[in-house]
């Protein structure tokens, strides 16, 4: 790389060509004040705060926009610079209310700091200040004080450049310019607004949740990790007086950079919600009553002891890896391999082949193409979208193969919208075209009729050809998401993906799993593998475990979630231990869950709240939230990161790990550790590939060309195909109890294409009844082209639309407008 050498305040510095003078100065430790410049966005040069003087240039230059040149002589503190800076600050302050004492930003405000360092002592402004309405609520989580705004354009550019959601915009012009949202309601709220609060250099944008709750110097920041989704963003949790008052992003270049999504930003209040469970409950004569820990644990231990090995465990995404490891160890000590962290999935192939999880997020920077296969990235893993967006801006080619239109479509080169469940046909058609171009179709693909595949998927051949042209850019990351994994034919999709991967090259990511789900799998919460995803019959691993545990796990693979539930229903399994999962609500086959529950002798749940599963349990144990304990969580990349407690749990609740240890002791299979660190150390002996802060390579089958024929077309059923899609903001147990988030979730609406809406007489906004088998729901309908003809998008995860009823991928639904309610 070529470099340039320049002089700043008499000192020389050599920087790569293309570096701005601002950054060159920083390299020397020379500070230049800025407002509009933010190093995650291109320079703008609007605020004029960062002036420097450059010899041979007649005007002062904004250092944030000025590229360093060989031999440049720069002064950052010359009298003209000091004078101009003071002038700019004076201009910025004339209309800025001096309400610092009651401003949330006070104490961490760049305007305050810069004024202190560089500002004029007194104001010469005697005119009346500009008045705007104070504290305008722009969203449930965002409050705007326009009087404080210095129009630095950071928030608006964040929406353009970083998030791509255009959430905030400058309206009007000149001195009337102000930040605003559009006059018509947006289709969906921004998922990233917290970041604008974080980068606002004044107190103009403040958190509707944090407002007036604390002053920064009173907060005790704890480094932790967000556990809402699988991205695993690094956070600072600010606590004050035993309360979590806010969550901020902690810089972590490889994971979240400096960003968070709004679930992470605002999803913390639940932890101190009065609904928290604080005492165990046991069922007696059909009803749940409060019980002591003694009694409850006795009951569980007794039942487990009695029933072993016909016992099973589900859940893990809310646990730490250490706890997941202990859960697996306990059940294995009882002779059961029936453990599965994939508690809400119907499709559970061997995790030794298809573990949930991605490659390193940074791979997006080196990949040529990103193919989203049934993956609604912004709803599922929002911060991963920010990384993808940045890569797309730098030339990564984005492609979607999806049964619904994605929010990020404008940033993609091509979107192939297909009939639900037919992505395999698209992938096979693409594989054929790729193969043909490469000059020769591998044998199994000769069977594929491209035109026929396209027809079956309901797509134009031209769209697939476009997709193939996009692939030509180079190796791809194929990211399979929930719309596929939980869709009608995931096995066939994976086979088709393997085929395309074999003929084209690239890697497959499985973007599935919230919280610590990937960590739980790696810790051994899978029926067919040992910790570290080692084969059950691996003699070395068994020997090692025997040495550590004092026993070896059973050799026979256990049952994965759906089979496990069938076995419960059949009475073959007697006790089910559910840790931080809500299968009654989330397992996409409510009927099976019901039968399973009915077949069980004892259902144990460790929980924070009265979930559906908890209500049906025989023993309910109050557990701790992620803010209340230490340990390790693993993100989609397989990257372990430490979480640390920022508050005490409610009295009466206990950490899952502690619960498991007590149970183990009562069962005569003690698991004793001096600390959480000791558990981690032991886990690492079983799974040495786990290393703090290092992505773990997750197992994937070797790419191979294989053609799986489509399932014979079944009986053509009536009605629209239900595409269950869980939005980021929904009525989760945690989000429902975090201030701001329920309003962001709003009331759910099913989405129909105009064509179907017209045929059914449904107006946009009408109240409709959905009926599929015995599932009935009343909801609002939205008419939009996010849905394809013949399909209806059903937002699951709301009380009226639980996954248990509406996430079945074979559902077809009849829709009826409710008389008199439609508008």
């Amino acid at each position: 790389m070529s470099t340039v050498t320049l002089t700043i305040n008499g000192r020389t510095v050599t920087v790569p060509k293309g570096t701005t003078v601002y950054h060159a100065a920083r390299q020397l430790g020379v500070e230049i004040p800025i407002f509009c410049y933010h190093d995650r966005m291109p320079p703008l040069g609007a605020c004029r705060m960062c002036f420097v003087q450059v010899e041979k240039m007649p005007r002062l230059q904004t250092s944030c926009t000025l590229e360093a040149q060989e031999g440049m002589v720069v002064w950052t503190e010359s009298p003209t610079v000091v004078e101009a800076r003071r002038a700019i600050l004076e201009f910025l302050l004339i209309n800025h209310p001096l309400d610092c004492p009651i401003c949330d930003k006070g104490g961490e405000c760049p305007l305050q700091d810069n004024t202190f360092k560089y500002g004029p002592g007194a104001s010469r402004f005697v005119e009346p200040k500009r008045r705007f309405p104070k504290a305008v609520r722009l969203s449930p989580v965002l409050t705007l004080d326009r009087e404080r705004c210095i129009m630095c354009w950071r928030c608006t550019r964040f929406g353009e450049v970083v998030a791509g959601d255009h959430a905030l915009k400058g309206h009007d012009r000149g001195y009337r310019t102000h930040i605003d949202v559009p006059p018509v309601t947006q289709e969906r709220p921004s998922k990233f607004i917290g970041n604008t609060i974080a980068i606002c250099p004044v107190g103009a944008l403040t958190s509707g949740v944090y407002r007036f709750r604390a002053r920064p110097w009173d907060n005790r920041p704890v480094a932790s990790v967000c556990n809402h989704c699988g991205v695993g963003c690094a956070t600072w949790v600010d606590a004050r007086g035993g309360e979590v008052v806010r969550v901020r992003a902690r810089e972590k270049a490889e994971v979240n950079d400096i960003w968070l999504c709004d679930l992470g930003f605002f999803g913390y209040d639940y932890t101190q919600h009065p609904d928290r469970l604080t005492t165990p409950y046991v069922r007696e004569r059909g009803v749940l009553r409060e019980a002591s820990w003694e009694e409850a644990l006795d009951r569980v231990a007794h039942a487990l002891g009695e029933a072993a090995p016909r016992v099973a465990a589900l859940g893990g995404e809310r646990l730490t890896v250490e706890e997941a490891y202990l859960l697996g160890r306990l059940f294995r000590s009882l002779g059961s391999n029936h453990v599965d962290a994939r508690a809400d999935a119907r499709f559970t192939p061997s995790a030794r082949e298809w573990a949930w999880g991605s490659g390193t997020f940074q791979a997006l920077e080196s990949a040529a193409v990103l193919v989203l296969v049934g993956c609604d990235l912004t709803e599922e893993y929002p911060v991963l979208w920010l990384r993808a967006k940045r890569a797309l801006d730098r030339g990564l080619v984005g492609v979607a193969i999806s049964p619904k239109r994605l929010e990020v479509e404008p940033y993609l080169k091509c979107s192939v919208l297909h009939d639900y469940g037919a992505e395999a046909d698209v992938l096979y058609a693409a594989a054929c075209l790729v193969g043909e171009r490469a000059g020769g179709l591998p044998e199994p693909l000769r069977e594929v009729d491209v035109d026929e595949s396209c027809r079956r998927a309901g797509v134009d051949r031209a769209a697939v050809e476009e997709l193939v042209r996009c692939l030509e850019a180079g190796p791809a990351v194929f990211a399979v998401g929930r719309l596929s994994w939980d869709g009608p034919h995931p096995e066939r999709t994976l086979a088709a993906l393997q085929t395309l991967q074999a003929v084209h090259g690239g890697q497959v990511w499985v973007l599935r799993g919230k919280g610590n789900a990937v960590g739980a799998l790696l810790a051994g919460l899978v029926p067919d593998a040992l910790p570290g995803l080692v084969a059950l019959d691996d003699p070395q691993a068994r020997a090692r475990l025997h040495e550590v545990w004092g026993f070896a796990p059973p050799e026979e693979p256990g049952l994965s979630t759906p089979a496990m539930l069938e076995a419960c229903a059949a009475g073959a399994l007697r006790v089910l231990y559910v840790a931080g999962a809500d299968p009654a609500r989330d397992f996409p086959d409510g009927a099976l869950w019901h039968r399973a529950r009915a077949g069980l002798q004892l259902l144990v749940v460790t929980e924070l709240f009265w979930t559906d599963t908890a209500r049906q349990a025989d023993v309910v144990l109050p557990a701790l939230s992620i803010f209340e304990r230490e340990g390790t969580v693993v993100n989609l990349e397989g990257r372990p990161q430490r979480v640390a407690p920022s508050r005490m749990g409610p009295p009466g609740a206990r950490a899952d790990g502690e619960i498991l240890q007590v149970l183990a002791a009562r069962l005569g299979r003690p698991m004793e550790y001096a600390s959480v660190g000791a558990v981690w150390a032991e886990l690492r002996r079983a799974a040495p590939q786990l290393d703090l802060d290092r992505p773990t390579e997750l197992p994937r089958p070797r790419p191979q060309v294989e053609y799986r024929r489509p399932a014979a077309a079944g009986r053509q059923e009536e009605g629209l195909w239900v595409i269950p899609a869980a939005p980021l903001f929904r009525q989760g147990e945690m989000s429902a109890r975090s201030r701001g988030l329920p309003e962001l979730a709003g009331t759910p609406a099913v989405v129909l294409h105009a064509q179907d809406a017209a045929a059914l007489g449904v107006d946009d906004g009408a109240e409709v009844e959905l009926r599929a088998g015995d599932a009935v729901a009343r909801v609002r309908a939205e008419v939009a082209d996010r849905a394809r003809p013949g399909h209806v998008l059903v937002p699951v995860g709301f009380s009226q639309l639980p996954r248990a009823r509406w996430a079945n991928p074979e559902l077809r639904v009849r829709i009826r407008v409710l008389e008199g309610v439609s508008r």
Binding site: G45, L92, V126, E127, T177
Partner: protein
Amino acid sequence: MAEPVLLRYVREPDQGEIEAYERRGGYAALRRALRELSPDQVTDLVDRSQLRGRGGAGFPTGRKWKFVPKDAPVKYLVVNADEGEPGTFKDRTLLEGDPHLLVEGIALAAYANGVRTAYVYIRREFYEARRKLETAIAQAYQRGYLGQRILGTDFSLDVYVHPGAGAYIAGEETALLESLEGRRAMPRLKPPYFPAVMGLYSKPTVLNNVETLCCVPWIVREGPEWWLQQGPPQLYSVSGHVDRPQVVEAPLGTTARELIERAGGVRGGRQVKAFYPGGTSSRPLPARHLDVPLRHEELAQLGSMLGSAAVIVMDETTDMVKVIARVCEFYRDESCGKCTPCREGTVWVTQILDRILHGRGRPEDLDLLASLARNMTGTCFCPLGESVPPSLRAGLEDFREEFEAYIRAAREPVSMPVRLHLGAPAPGG
């Protein structure tokens, strides 16, 4: 006095018709260029004519064209018909009076620069001008002066008229390109967005003013030497306290005194107090400079500029405080709001001037205004904000006693509520 060149036919009512235009020698330059001249030769003619841009910046047109990379596959020509500088109305006069002259100039500029698509960015209020121009363009297409394979050559050109929507700043070249791309008209960072290399849609773009392009057919037809012998011809928009405000064509370097005479003299036979030589962005000059040649160099020496050559004449009865306050208000309302000194400085300055005008001035206000003028100089993102200090400076230096008179007569030196509020009812007012 020599026969006018640019204005020669503007008062002929039929000049907007293509037959009349052709009859008077129109499109001969284009025919000649396409038949006899290479694109570079056309650029050379323009270069040799020493033509300088007539939009305000006065940049030599031939040099500008030479910045455009030759081998770029896609290039654009954008015509600046936004004419917003207060006091300027020569582009409108040309558009309404001789639209084919512009069309021919566009075709020549496009040919010289290897452009196949041209957009005319025309301000919304030019309803009649736009109708005339669209008619002319349609006629030129019919006659084969525009469109595919023009006059049987390999040269093709499409021209589209694009309306503005009310924003003075859209006349600034990079803001214009933003606006043409469908965004808020806010100036772009230069570098890297020099239009000639990274303009419309980030492609090389030739951007010229209407009058500039109207000069080109004459230069190509009659040659640069002839052009220079004519003066060169320059349009001065003469308005204000003159008897017959009008566009005056005169050799570059004509004095204000002569121009005022050509516009019928000062209204009511009064004396001149001051005049803006180049629109309100230039520094207004007191009457003692009436005999200065209105040319780039001489005006620069006086701290003023030729700008758009809009001569606004103010007679002895003029209240300079009021004029300057009105000018500052204009820039306040037309600031795009991107940069701090322009957005905030224009507000502050107008608040102070408003206060002085309303009898609430303080003696220290004059030093404050001078200081604000200094603080807005060399600090703004684009020239709009920097258009305020020249008027202020002239006021404080050349007409100081008028300000002092207001302040001496001030009743209560306190601040008054100022008409500043969000979403003021009237746009533009």
